[in-house]
């Protein structure tokens, strides 16, 4: 294209200059998909870096493998289906990155590759690629992996060989199995600062919060979804805690442990599988938060975030039927 352009320009005596005819509008605000992807990655960095610091090179390895294989799977699908190469938009990379953030640092290589395959191919590309996936690709991948290889997401077992300077217990599993007394043994402030066992990038509450606030302020994710998700978690956990303070941990504990914060800022807000209207966004986020605590407290799974997000992805098309009336609509 560019060479052609140059060749045309070099012909000195073209009688007519070729003008480009395009349609209105001739202005654009300059936003791009790539910009969204890269800023989301940037926002994920603080949490990820603390994970690297805690778990060392294995964590770096998992993250690199996840990002690179996610991009490769997308490339493979692009080539197989003979569609334009879309790896440049950064969407596959962001899927790989968020997937890695949810994994324990000792995840075996084959599991990482399988996970990114599920996320990119089954979670996104078979629906037609970016914008068409009904479910969050990362949540699909983690959910399938959790069912298929339960042990891989048992953080206590996976990270047993690490000698860290804080309690090597997965807090949310401890609270589930041993009641709120074990939850109280954790200092909430230390958990907030990332002193807890868990996924590579999902334990550093402060880092995720900074990233999330950045994304909300820049408009890359919607505050309606994130905040109502957190509110849903907080209120439901509060009610449970009120009903049976011995069995159920307090609301703040639920906010800071497991996948809650990464779910609120990076999973539930995924564009394609979340609603766009104001009221539906509130319902979607709140519903996700409520489901999270329900699954955690009375379901069989330790962490409910992934499944809760899949469930609210499911009701997203219905929610978006709640819409404002268009101007001059004739009923």
């Amino acid at each position: 294209m560019l060479e052609k352009r140059k060749a045309v320009e070099q012909q000195p005596s073209l009688i007519q200059k070729k003008l480009v005819v395009s349609h209105a509008p001739f202005l654009h605000n300059g936003s791009r998909i790539t910009e969204r992807s890269y800023h989301t990655m940037l926002a994920a960095l603080p949490a990820l870096l603390l994970g690297f610091y805690h778990y060392g090179m294995p964590a770096v390895g998992v993250a690199c493998l996840a990002v690179s294989t996610a991009i490769l799977w997308e490339l493979v699908i692009n080539l197989v289906t003979r569609r334009p190469i879309t790896i440049g938009d950064g969407n596959a990379a962001i899927i790989g990155l968020i997937f890695a953030m949810l994994l324990p640092a000792t995840m075996p290589w084959w599991a990482v590759i399988t996970g990114t395959f599920i996320a990119v191919v089954i979670g996104k590309q078979i629906y037609g690629g970016i914008g068409s996936n009904a479910f969050n690709p990362v949540a699909v991948a983690v959910a399938i992996m959790m069912v298929a290889w339960k042990g891989l997401f048992d953080f206590d077992g996976m990270l047993v060989n690490y000698n860290l300077d804080f309690a090597t217990l997965y807090p949310i599993a401890a609270a589930k199995h041993f009641g709120s007394a074990s939850a109280e043994s954790f200092s909430l402030w230390k958990i907030f600062l990332g002193q807890q066992l868990g996924g590579i990038g999902s334990t550093f509450g402060l880092g995720l919060l900074i990233g999330g606030i950045y994304l909300m302020l820049r408009g890359f994710i919607r505050w309606e979804i994130s905040l109502t998700f957190l509110a849903g978690v907080y209120l439901t956990a509060f009610v449970f805690n009120l009903a049976d303070p011995v069995r159920f941990a307090g609301p703040a504990f639920h906010l800071l442990t497991g996948y809650t914060l990464i779910g609120a800022f990076f999973l539930a807000t995924e564009d394609s599988s979340s609603p766009v209207n104001f009221v539906p966004m509130l319902i979607y986020g709140g519903f996700g938060g409520i489901m999270t605590v329900l699954i955690r407290n009375i379901g069989v799974w330790v962490d409910g975030v992934i499944l809760a997000i899949l469930v609210c992805n499911l009701i997203n098309p219905l929610l978006d039927k709640i819409r404002p009336q268009a101007l001059g609509k004739v009923v």
Partner: protein, 427 residues
């Protein structure tokens, strides 16, 4: 060009730029070597030989290709007809381009002057339909139309365009005279002048109530004016004209005013010219002046793959030749460098919802565009409010995937209309 704000919590706004208090001088473009006028083409009739190449025409002379039809153009110069050629515009509109080469001293055709003592609607229709500003006189004359309100646009609907704003402020007396004539000849209830909210003052004694609209785009688009000023929402699929409201630019009113004031048909178009570097100039050129001459007058060079836009940056259209003439409704000409132009992509919608949040008509654009991409125009109209669209182009402006949504919408409306006309013809 207006870029996205760093913080993304609030919806982006495009403001209408107000002219400075001390208005700039208009810069006059000299009469060009060749003038091109676009005469509407009637596909069922052959081009008659009544007007031939080589015929002499005077300034202000009425040129009509089909003697029985109402269409005509007014010659803006004195000279000879050099060529007649077919010309195709947007969405299948066809014209005959009449080229005139100016010759000798300017002689004014006085047919209009003889009748200009007593203005009537017929006389206006007879001579001023193609006047600068393109007054919609046939709408007013059509008594079945039932137009009861005329809205004069003292503010251009597109951002950065300042033609009507300039004219309404600089030619107060002609505007007043024009309003007087409109009141006299048109059987309407109200004539309202629309201006930017902050400049409502300063229009005392204009002879018509002055209403301000917000200074953010798209407040000056017809549907928004109807809603905000008249308090009347246009039902989806209807036009403002069907509700009895007719929009006319301030320049058109001034053309009418000055024509009867001086007895001469106006032939110069005032327009906003925006150079590649963004500098804005108010210029005056004869109708029919090729865009190439205007560029030359300002020393503006156009390279391969640049764009030249007739009309505003949000709703205008790009032209493909430097010979394209200034027309009675060309309110602005914008030259855009190829590196600064907005490009579209073939990416699918990612469902981010920016378009839904900015849409002034509250359309579910993210769903609409999926139907339009699949050519399902009827479903789009039935389920996703295609006909509620007020054609502001803001959805395309904010689209992260850079989908040409606005073009899809216009195309869908055009195709649906065509299908409906075809069905009506079959029945």
């Amino acid at each position: 060009m207006v870029k996205k704000a760093f913080w993304g919590l609030s919806t982006p706004q495009i403001n209408y730029e107000m002219l400075p208090v001390h208005l700039p001088e208009t810069e006059k473009i000299p009469t060009p070597q060749r003038i091109t006028l676009l005469h509407p083409k009637n596909d069922t009739l052959n081009v008659p030989s009544a007007m031939g190449i080589g015929d002499a025409v005077k300034t202000g002379a009425k040129l009509s290709l089909y003697p029985d039809q109402n269409d005509y153009v007014i010659s803006p110069v004195t000279g000879k007809i050099a060529a007649l050629s077919p010309y195709t515009g947007d969405f299948g509109k066809s014209y005959i381009a009449i080229a005139i080469t100016p010759e000798g001293d300017e002689i004014i055709d006085d047919t209009f002057q003889q009748q200009s003592q007593s203005p009537t609607l017929e006389l206006l229709c007879e001579y001023l339909s193609g006047a600068p500003g393109n007054p919609p006189l046939s709408l007013l004359a059509d008594s079945n139309g039932g137009i009861h309100t005329i809205i004069i646009r003292g503010l251009d609907p597109d951002p950065t365009v300042a033609t009507n704003q300039y004219i309404a402020q600089s030619r107060f007396n002609d505007l007043k005279k024009g309003i007087e004539i409109l009141k006299q000849v048109a059987d309407v209830r109200d004539i309202i002048l629309i201006t930017a909210g902050e400049s409502v003052q300063g229009y005392g004694h204009i002879g018509a109530p002055v209403k301000g609209v917000k200074t953010t785009y798209p407040s000056a688009l017809p549907h928004m004016v109807m809603k905000d000023v008249l308090g009347q929402v246009v039902p989806a699929g209807k036009t403002c004209e069907e509700l009895g409201v007719c929009f006319i630019t301030a320049e058109a009113v001034i053309s009418i005013g000055s024509a009867f004031e001086s007895g001469q048909l106006p032939t110069s178009k005032t327009l906003t010219f925006i150079k590649k570097d963004g500098t804005r100039k108010i210029i005056e050129a004869r109708i029919g002046t090729p865009i190439g001459d205007i560029l030359e007058a300002f020393g503006e060079t156009v390279n391969e793959f640049d764009r030249i836009i007739f009309g505003g940056p949000m709703t205008g259209s790009a032209v493909y030749a430097l010979e394209h003439p200034v027309q009675p409704d060309t309110d602005s000409i914008i030259v855009v460098d190829r590196d600064k132009a907005a490009y579209v992509s073939d990416y699918p919608c990612i469902n981010c919802g920016e378009c839904v949040r900015i849409c002034p008509a509250k359309i579910q654009v993210h769903m609409l565009v999926r139907f339009l991409e699949a050519n399902q125009y009827e479903n789009a109209a039935d389920s996703y409010d295609l006909h509620s669209c007020i054609e502001c182009g803001l959805c395309s402006y904010v689209c992260v995937s850079r989908i040409p949504i606005f073009q899809y919408i216009k195309l869908a409306k055009y195709e649906l209309k065509r299908a409906m006309t075809a069905e009506a013809a079959d029945a």
